[in-house]
């Protein structure tokens, strides 16, 4: 009880800070310095129609690289930890039902396709590598639900993940040699704004991210699924 009271008091204090922030907050009327720059220069400099993507992949590409690394780390650790646990014993599969099995068989290609679409078009439309990767992973999840005994090749997943990572870093480095700096997308021609093959290396990077994220999520899901139920 005392613990709850203290928690309440503490959260009240934190909440008061939040409240001050909330009530003191007035939305900007015009774009601030940074946002303004992006609005004005993205199209011309990077050739990306989706400004958020330009920021994510290029301007703040280092963040994104870190982000990808976070997932990579998480996947590695989860894989390592769960791999150390006892392997799943063969057991009689729970019947999953016709609807799910059929639905999965039917939907999986479409989900994968959607995922690819989302990350390939990341520089043009809402979405991108992370979203696409997540979509692909959701397909994998569906597959796992439909067939819990399904075994994924960890080697393959890991290879996709790593190759994508290494290429990502290499493209980033190529920016140092061929363009203005690390992760500069202008190592490839910018093309026309709005085209699929535009915005330099952004689509390429975002695709790699999509593959990598998809592989990582898949790897986490597969690891979790393969774990013995405790």
């Amino acid at each position: 009880m005392i613990k709850r009271l203290i928690a309440l008091a503490l959260l009240a204090a934190v909440g008061s800070v939040f409240a001050t922030l909330l009530f003191g907050y007035t939305p900007d009327a015009v774009l601030n310095l940074t946002a303004r720059y992006y609005a004005e220069h993205t199209a011309a400099d990077l050739g990306a129609a989706n400004i958020v993507t330009a920021i994510v992949v290029t301007y703040r590409g280092l963040d994104t690289l870190g982000e990808v690394t976070v997932l990579f780390l998480a996947a590695s650790i989860v894989g390592l930890v769960l791999a150390q646990g006892t392997q799943k014993k063969p057991r009689t599969p729970v019947p999953v039902g016709e609807l799910l099995t059929t639905g999965a068989r039917f939907l999986l290609p479409m989900i994968l396709l959607l995922g690819v679409y989302v990350f390939v078009n990341g520089h043009l439309t809402p979405g991108g590598g992370f979203q696409g990767g997540a979509i692909i992973a959701s397909g994998i999840l569906l597959l796992l639900l439909a067939d819990p005994l399904k075994h994924f090749s960890h080697g393959l997943i890991s290879a996709i993940e790593s190759v994508a990572g290494v290429i990502y870093v290499s493209i980033g480095l190529a920016g140092v040699f061929l363009a203005g700096g690390f992760l500069d997308n202008r190592i490839l021609p910018l093309g026309t704004l709005g085209d699929l093959a535009s915005a330099g290396a952004i689509p390429l990077i975002y695709s790699l991210i999509g593959l990598k994220v998809g592989a990582e999520f898949a790897s986490i899901l597969a690891s979790l699924s393969e774990t013995e139920e405790l």
Partner: protein, 1050 residues
Amino acid sequence: MSALYIIAVGLGSAFLLGLLNERQRGLAYMITLAALTIMSAISASWLLIFAATGAHPIDILTAGTQPPFAINLRMGLVESALTLLINLTGLLAAIHMGDSLLAKGRRAMAVLVIAIMALCGIVLTRDIFNLFVFFELIVIATGGLVLLSDADDNGRAVSAGFKYLIVSQFISILLLIGIIFAYHATGTLNIDGMAEIVGSGIKPELATAFSLAFFLMFIAVVAELKPFPANGWALDIYESAHPGFSAIFSAATGSAALFAVDKLLLIGGADWLPVATGIGIVTFVGANLLALPQTNDRRLLGYSSIAQTGLVLTILGQQDILGEHTLFIAGGLLFAHAVAKAGLYWLSDFVATRSLTGWAALQERPLLVFAFVTFAAMLAGLPPFPGFYAKWELVHILAAEGRLALLALILFGALVEAGYLFRWFGYLIKREPDQEVSCNTVQIIPVFAAVLAGWALGFVWGELSGHSNLLLVLPLLFALAFLLLEWAPAWFKNTLAIGGMVTFFLQTYAEYDPLRLIFAVIFMIGGAVTLLASYHAHGRRIGFYPAAMLMFAGMILLIRATDTFGFFASWELLTVGSYFLILRGKHSEPHALSYIIFSLGGAFLILTAFALAAAAVPPAPTFAIASLGELVQPVAPWVFLLLAVGFMTKTAAIGVHIWLPGAHAEAETDVSPMVSGILLKAGLYGLFVLLMTMGKQSLYGVELTYVMLWIGAITALLGNLMAIFQEDAKRLLAYSSIGQMGYAMFGLALMNHLGWLLALMFVINHYIYKSMLFLSVGGVAKRTGTREMYKMGGLITLMPLSFIATLIGIIAVSGVPPLSGFGGRWIFYNAILTADSRLPMVLIFLAGPIAFLYLFRLIHTIFLGQLKDEHRRIKEAPFWIILPQMIYVALLMVVAVVPGMVLRHVDAYISRFFPEGALNWEGMSITSQFGYWNPVAIMIIVGVIFMLLFSWLLFVNRKAQKVKQFNIVFSAERPFRPETTHFAWNFFAPYRKAMGFLVQPFVTRFWETVTDLLHTAADITRRLYNGNGQIYAFHFLVFVVAVFAMKMGI
């Protein structure tokens, strides 16, 4: 190579590792090492460039766009040094954890590489959100490494890691909220951009929001430093994780997080510096206090890490006054901490049990002991390591700016830290090893890399310090050279040591004025004579010579020092050297500890005094000791007071004397004369210098020399009084030293010509007779195997030479004519005749006869009375222990007959300070304005009477035979057991009945109470850390709210 490659190489190799087959672990490990090596090489190359050219930091752009629109990195001197530290720690940790990594496989290696990369990222990035990303990488990597490194496989590390993650979640929530609102307020995420906007004035309507946002960011990043008391989770990790990783967590993560805090302070500006200071100092003191009761080595190191981080945070908070010195100070402390802590964690892997006492296993490996010593000295800020120079600068600047409370807290914390470190070292050296050291060659590499780095850093900081580089000073180098000679036999090293000291004396004696010359002779020639006794030791005697020579080097440098820096550095050197020497005694562990704590406490007072003095005089790179005399009110008396107390801890004045008896008594046979006969004089030298430069000072109307007079008198009385009740012969001599030092202090404090001459007389005499007595008693103890006097008795016929030395010694100490002690007494009476204050003299009068009591006890219970059965076959003490005693006997005779040989020069020298009252040395007689004294005549008269009677008695009793031991009768019985016949135990029972109330151990109890209080306070506070991760989250929030309340409340 651009600094970006550090990140690229780290990430690239991590991804590459994923490509490998799970079975290619060897290859994976090679890639890991290669990546870390390349990363280190890049940092190192930049460090060289910046250090050599002093170039400005270089901004590295990403995305080909200028900041603040894209993330940029910055590589400068600090960044290159920090990344080098991080990368090297990572590399060495990878080497250290080799087995473990190979067992876990490539993914674990990838996690390690990414962790190191992310730490570099934290250092390099100039973008606040990017900082967050790197922090999260660290969180996950840390979590992962902890999870993987569950050393004992009992799940403790796992639960620790989970607690860490819980708190990290709270931290990242606050950090993100802070970042987004800071972005909203400033329109940028770039750290420099934000700082610029804040500097040029933020819009008023956004000011509140910004300051709240900044608070959230700041507190979140500070929380990464594991501030006290919101750090339970970190301690659990330190305790349970693989030590290879804990090294990274302590050395690298801590350093990176500190740099992140520094970046935030750049944004926050001067307003936030006090907050950083406050958090830092509370952490430093609190964590050090809590480290006191720890018994788990890794947890203790964890507390120490947190404390050191807190100290650096304090320094970052003092940037406003430290200015350009911040780098030097913070860097010195940080690097010393990082290198030492990493080294200690790696060392801890060689010890099987997790108790501090388990480290005794290292005893068998001198090299590992040396490594431990290096690390402990670095942490404690002892010369010649960087922490020492940093501490010196820091204290000076704090004193100059008048931040004395902070200064006191820092020094207090440092003392506590030194306390537990040296206690630990005592365990290591003295406890019985109960297990083997388990280490392979590869695992030793990182430890010794850290040792090398420590010494190299010491050299670099010495070069940068603007003072003389201690690692280039000849006597110190000579002492350190003995480390390399440890393989040689003891006799060889002994010869070298004696030769070195004598040669150095011959080379330099012309440089000293008469006063210093006396000390120089005692330190160098006296040291050489005492070292003769060391020839008795066989084997290699590992550890003795570096320690002894360190002490002698310190003393030599002390008299050669002209500025306060040199003086203080040599003071610390001699303290440390003597500590190691004292610790060598069989049962000296607790005494050596109290010695080092009192000495360091005293040293801190001296340091503070020097800093206050330097602050009061126009700034100069060095502060000459002679300038102490230029100080005026109100600072002068305080400087005087601090210095006097500091020096008095070394001379063991009453109140701070409790370390001496044990330390001197438990030391080895040839060490006791060194630390008693020679080392104590360093304290007297300090007092001499102090009084010569500063003269009389009064504080609140109280004349300080007058207080000193009282202290000297009380010390003389109580020291002597305590000596008579000792059963242990060496303790008796040790207490006697306390009394003798009291006399000398009393003489100095008289502040007249003869008083000083008296003190000098005591310096010389005490050196000779106390060295002699300690050697003699030590030789006896060596042969009989005990120091309890009542267990001895009747040794006169078996050990005649030792007896003669003791006899001459006690006659000299007691001041009975015709030996040299009388000269001291005569000068003493003449001196007090001119003194103004008379009351303290009463105590001195009382002290005089009491000396007889303990001296008689010494000679009676050891050499006279009844010989014990078990001692009947005892031989005389070894030749090499007897030889110096005989030299001392000769010296005593010379000094007794021609005291003027030495003293007249000093007398003339003292006339510079006190022209009044000089002695007249004409002819054979020594004349003062009150009386006269003719040593030669006394010697002849006493000698003639004595010889006349003696030869008559010899003549008439020429047929007398020596009778058997029990040929005595009392109470109508013939005794048959020496034990019941030898009257020795509780020798002065009536005296104890009458005067015992004066020697109740009040002072000991006082200090025991102090330490007990510290321990109790720490134990109560410890209960905060109840191990529950959720409670730790509470701690964190309480911490946040408390800091908020304080910051916003002010």
